[in-house]
Amino acid sequence: MSKSLPQLKIINRLHVFRAIQRMTQEQLAKEVGVTRATIVAIEGGGYNPSLELAFRIARYFRTDINTIFSIEEEIK
């Protein structure tokens, strides 16, 4: 009945932004109000943040959400 939709893989450049700012995962976690484990999971691609958290991260780095998070490819 329902059409199988291609899976979207979200990639992020969080580690790049963090490296530019010379920040530790712990510091970033504190700034955006999550645990360090969550930052580790986001950077490792194991967890996709909510829109709210994605916006909070983007706002912290004073950039657009698309610059940090983007869709890499479509996997069937």
């Binding site: 109000g33 999550v34 645990t35 484990a37 969550t38 999971a41 967890y47 943040p49 909510s50 709210e52 958290l53």
Partner: protein, 198 residues
């Protein structure tokens, strides 16, 4: 109310070691290991009874509060089960772990229900009571009782039987089953959470 409940909870928890010590004393008192004639022992026995009464009342009150008060339940049960929801990821993982726990618990409950309902009896009857020349029988049954005492009213056999194997529901007491289920819920949740966090 919140402060009152918290105070009672602290009394309950800090009273646990006292209750344990008094329970040991009550055991020795009932077995006669402690001299009943001394006034001190009598006083201690009465005091133990009073402490037990207070502690039992507290237990009933607190368990009822856990059922009806959402914030109190979250405060207490979250600590007992080591539930952590520090950020959105942990909230999602908690949901997943809770789902896994709920489904496995339900599966266990269905399995236990089957085990408690089914009755199997393998027996032999004397040669003169044989049916079609057969003396060995396998009897299958399904028992469901709403109340516990109904279960005990099992019809007595009119024919003398040599029971080879008899199974009439779970041999474990209801208290043990409830305790196992409580422990299972805590262990299952924590195991699922650990697996998801990795």
């Amino acid at each position: 109310m919140k402060r009152f409940d918290s105070t009672l909870l602290k009394v309950f928890l800090y009273g646990l070691p006292v209750v344990a010590v008094l329970a040991i004393f009550a055991y020795f008192y009932s077995t006669g290991a402690v001299n009943h004639a001394t006034g001190y022992a009598k006083f201690m026995n009465s005091f133990t009874g009073l402490v037990f009464a207070v502690w039992m009342t507290l237990s009933i009150y607190l368990s009822a509060r856990l059922m009806f008060s959402g914030p109190f339940r979250e405060q207490v049960i979250a600590k007992i089960t080591f539930l952590r929801e520090r950020d959105e990821r942990e909230v999602i993982l908690t949901g997943k772990a809770t789902k896994a726990t709920f489904l496995t618990s339900l599966a266990i409950l269905i399995f236990l229900f089957c085990l408690s309902c089914f009755q199997i009896s393998i027996y032999r009857v004397p040669q003169d009571k044989a049916v079609d020349g057969k003396t060995g029988f396998v009897s299958l049954g399904l028992g469901f009782s709403l109340l516990q005492h109904e279960k005990q009213d099992i019809a007595k056999d009119t024919i003398p039987k040599e029971h080879i194997f008899t199974y009439r529901g779970l041999p474990i007491s209801s208290e043990t089953i409830i305790l196992i289920l409580i422990l299972w819920q805590i262990l299952s949740y924590n195991y699922s959470m650990r697996r998801l966090i990795k």
